[in-house]
């Protein structure tokens, strides 16, 4: 469809929810009727409740779709996810609780020019992060030049001093990165977190697209959506690229903690899409600093490991001795250059919350460029003036402990009690270096199917960046949406869902 054939700007029917005429009309009420805007940036509608340019056709289609029809499609989505066994968690072997991670069928759309900005910003960021990691594990220029306080790196929990001076293959530390982006109230994309350890979610990005094409093909008619299906092939390219040069035909494997891990679906999905073995620690052994897997025909050499196990559990001889997930001797095999790991060991320091405020400085230091994607404004109580600001504004800030992740040790100011704030005030005074604070950002909202109609729900975006011979950002990403009304927590464990994420092709490419 060409732009000229577009109807005039779609406008949401402004009926208050539940008027007599709507209730009486067969087939249910209008999906978008009574859509409410909050304080946050809404992805689909501007402040006058007019659909933004790239959302017009979708808004029109949704306006023509009855609630019952949409409910039917949503049920098909759920069934499909369940039958494919997508994203379940098991707590007990025989009668485990298995949960499907719900997908909302309304796609999130990002126009080409916006995506180009994001893409360039992500490439810039991962390039700087990899230079930073090489630097701090070698010459430490950035620390000597006091651009990043040495203490923050050298005393960071996830700094691996065992790896100082070790040369990693192709000088790449973070091969797979899942950067969390959010949108501020003015629509600007901000980086909330760089996940440079073992980020997950890419299988949902790929699977959501497959499911949406199956249950709601009509949605795609009006849009040129860039395919995201190349990710596994691009990941395999990266794994081959970092293989030890001694072998012409490297064997890569994916190392998983096993089927009870919450991301197991993703591990098996990626291994299958790449055609490599999905191994567990017990399938591998190290002999004379070389890694082998136990097969029906004896031991087979392994050259590259895409590991989905954290550093701490990778090798009981080097890190946590109680780990049964890892492979004894793996770290020495890695140091000897006989096996490659993706991601490398010690990347955690790059996405440490204490280091995060300095990423823009790293970009300027290593690349002599201004950051294309900004951080969320971050206060460091360690700095005396900022400490005063933080203590005076605890009720509006989000305070995070630098050495914790996954939402632990956090204070969300607006939702906190006076006691909680007092507790944090004391803790911050005692150890200001252990904290950072950020203004509470109202993540952008997007129409999401809830209780028979579309309501605004907050979401974020995790694009996936691969760093091998070149940096590849797969068009799209995982959009996570917080399903409870008003919630800003998008984690799957806390009632989160996901959406298919569409990156539109450059106009005129049809």
């Amino acid at each position: 469809m060409t732009p000229s054939s577009m109807a005039p700007q779609a406008r949401v029917s402004q009926n208050p929810a539940g008027t007599a005429s709507e209730v009486a009309s067969p087939g249910g009420s209008s999906l978008l009727g009574g859509y409410e805007l909050g304080a946050a940036y809404d992805e689909m509608f501007d402040s006058d409740l007019l659909a933004r340019g790239h959302y017009q056709q979708l808004a029109q289609l949704l306006d023509r779709t009855s609630s019952d029809e949409f409910r039917r499609r949503k049920a098909m989505t759920d069934l499909s996810m369940r039958q494919d066994g997508v994203g379940f968690t098991v707590y007990r072997a025989e009668e485990g609780i298995e949960r499907v991670w719900p997908m909302d069928p309304v796609p999130r759309i990002i126009p080409a020019d916006e995506w180009q900005q994001i893409e360039a910003g992500l490439v810039q960021r991962i390039t700087a992060l990899n230079l930073f990691l090489w630097d701090i594990y070698h010459e430490q220029h950035i620390l000597r030049d006091r651009v990043v306080p040495p203490r923050l790196v050298l005393q960071g929990n996830s700094f691996r001093r065992e790896f100082v001076g070790v040369d990693v293959p192709r000088k790449i530390y973070i091969h797979i990165c899942g950067t969390d982006l959010i949108r501020a109230a003015d629509g600007e994309y901000l980086v909330l977190e760089d996940n440079g350890r073992t980020p997950s979610g890419v299988s949902y990005m790929l699977h959501n697209r497959q499911v949406l094409k199956r249950v709601f093909p009509a949605l795609f008619n009006d849009y040129d959506v860039l395919p995201n299906d190349d990710y596994p092939a691009a990941l395999l390219d990266v794994l081959k690229y970092i293989a030890p040069e001694s072998t012409a035909t490297p064997t890569a494997v994916l190392l998983s903690p096993g089927m009870y891990n919450s991301a197991y679906f993703e591990h098996s999905f990626l291994a299958q899409r790449m055609g490599i073995e999905l191994v567990e620690g017990r399938d591998l052994l190290v002999d004379a600093n070389r890694v082998f897997m136990r097969t029906t025909r004896g031991l087979q050499r392994v050259d590259v490991i895409y590991r989905r196990i954290d550093d701490d559990f990778l090798d009981p001889l080097t890190f946590r001795p109680d780990s049964v997930l890892g492979v004894p001797g793996l770290v020495n095999a890695y140091r000897a250059g006989n096996v490659a790991l993706a991601n490398s060991i010690g990347t955690g320091i790059a996405d440490d919350k204490g280091i995060y405020p300095f990423v823009p400085d790293m970009i300027r230091y290593y690349l002599k460029q201004d950051p294309l994607l900004n951080n969320v404004k971050t206060f460091r109580p360690e700095v005396p003036e900022q400490l005063q600001h933080v203590l005076a504004n605890l009720d509006t800030l989000v305070v995070k402990r630098v050495n914790e992740s996954g939402g632990y040790g956090m204070l969300v100011g607006p939702a906190s009690t006076a006691e909680q704030r007092d507790e944090f005030r004391r803790a911050i005074r005692a150890n200001p270096r252990d904290f950072i604070a950020q203004p509470t950002i109202q993540l952008s909202t997007h129409p999401t199917f809830v209780d028979g109609r579309l309501e605004g729900r907050h979401l974020d975006l995790r694009p996936f960046v691969l760093c091998g011979e070149r940096v590849v950002v797969t068009p799209g990403g995982l959009t996570r949406v917080a399903l409870p009304k008003g919630s800003l927590v998008v984690n799957s464990s806390q009632g989160g869902g996901s959406k298919d994420t569409w990156i539109l092709a450059q106009a005129g490419r049809m």
């Binding site: 039958q83 494919d84 072997a93 098996s268 299958q272 999905l278 897997m293 029906t296």
Partner: protein
């Protein structure tokens, strides 16, 4: 291929086949029961107790006033407290498949997963109380679908052969057990009248999904000796012991990478011996004590093959 993966593929095949065999046995017994209780004075539990002992399963724990037959059916089909129930077997097949999802085709995983969800449905399970037929039928069709999808979507490589090993070893074992359990019936000769005998031996065939194939071959009443012959040594029928053992030998040969007939392991030797014995069987061996010892010996050798495979291909 990873030893752990080979092991899980083997058990996926084995548990799937076990659930189908059991579902068929329950379904046939339920139907036979309805036919027989008008003509025989035996208490109704007799057939069900015979089934339990054939399956080497313990009876259900004493229930709360539930009809004993209904209790046995529930115990065998849906009770997760019984590790040998159809539901438990399907769960185990699925858990094995899940642990190696990357090594089976997504289509096969999907069919197996769908089967699991259909059978887990509470209302569907509750209907077993009135008739186990739908549950049994659903299980069998689901397992057949899994086999078909597996054959059509997976490369017939090492992994596929491990699934075949599990499937055919389990099937051979179950057919041998069914024949062994009816041995007494055979010995008593024609104590029962013709229609009843036809029913009972017809049920044996149905338990092996062999009734129509048998009729087509022999075009006669169901003769016990012929039933034994058909289910034991017919080389063409997929549920005969001979057919299963041939497939096992094929798969073992493929996995070993040797030429046909070249033996490289104890599992193969044990299996090859049994196959040639059945291939060149004398018809005199098919009755009386000799049949009894042949069946017992065959069962023993099948279970030995299972143990040897485990030893040979696991490098733990």
């Amino acid at each position: 291929m990873l030893s752990r993966v080979a092991d899980a593929l083997f058990w996926t095949g084995r548990y799937l086949e076990r659930s189908a065999c059991l579902a068929r046995a329950v379904d046939v017994t339920f139907s036979l029961d309805l036919d027989l209780h008008g003509v025989l004075s035996n208490p109704v539990e007799l057939e069900w107790n015979a089934l339990l002992s054939m399956l080497r399963q313990s009876p259900p724990p004493a229930g709360d006033g539930e009809h004993p037959v209904a209790a046995v059916q529930r115990w065998l089909l849906v009770d997760l407290g019984n590790p040998g129930s159809v539901m438990a077997c399907v769960n185990r097949a699925r858990n094995n498949a899940r642990s190696i999802r990357g090594s089976i085709s997504p289509q096969m995983w999907r069919e197996l997963n769908k089967l699991h969800w259909r059978l887990s449905d509470g209302a569907f399970q509750a209907a077993v109380a009135e008739s186990p037929h739908d549950f049994c039928e659903e299980t069998q069709v689901g397992v057949l679908l899994c086999h078909g999808v597996c054959d059509a979507t997976m490369s017939h490589d090492e992994g596929w052969h491990f699934i075949q090993l599990g499937t055919y070893l389990e099937r051979a074992d179950k057919v041998l057990r069914i024949l062994d359990s009816k041995f007494g019936l055979l010995e008593r000769g024609d104590g029962a009248d013709l229609p009843v005998r036809n029913l009972q031996w017809g049920a044996v065939l149905r338990q092996c999904r062999a009734y129509e194939a048998y009729q087509r071959l022999y075009i006669s009443r169901v003769e016990p000796e012929r039933v034994v012959e058909f289910l034991l040594v017919n080389p063409d029928f997929p549920n005969s012991v001979r057919f299963c053992l041939d497939r096992l030998l094929d798969s073992l040969t493929e996995i070993s990478g040797r030429l046909p007939g070249r033996c490289d392991s104890d599992a193969m030797r044990t299996l090859g011996g049994l196959v040639s014995e059945l291939t060149y069987l004398d018809s005199d061996d098919l009755d009386g004590e000799r049949l009894h010892s042949l069946l017992g010996d065959s069962l023993g050798r099948c279970s030995r093959v299972g143990h040897l495979l485990q030893q040979q291909y696991s490098l733990q």
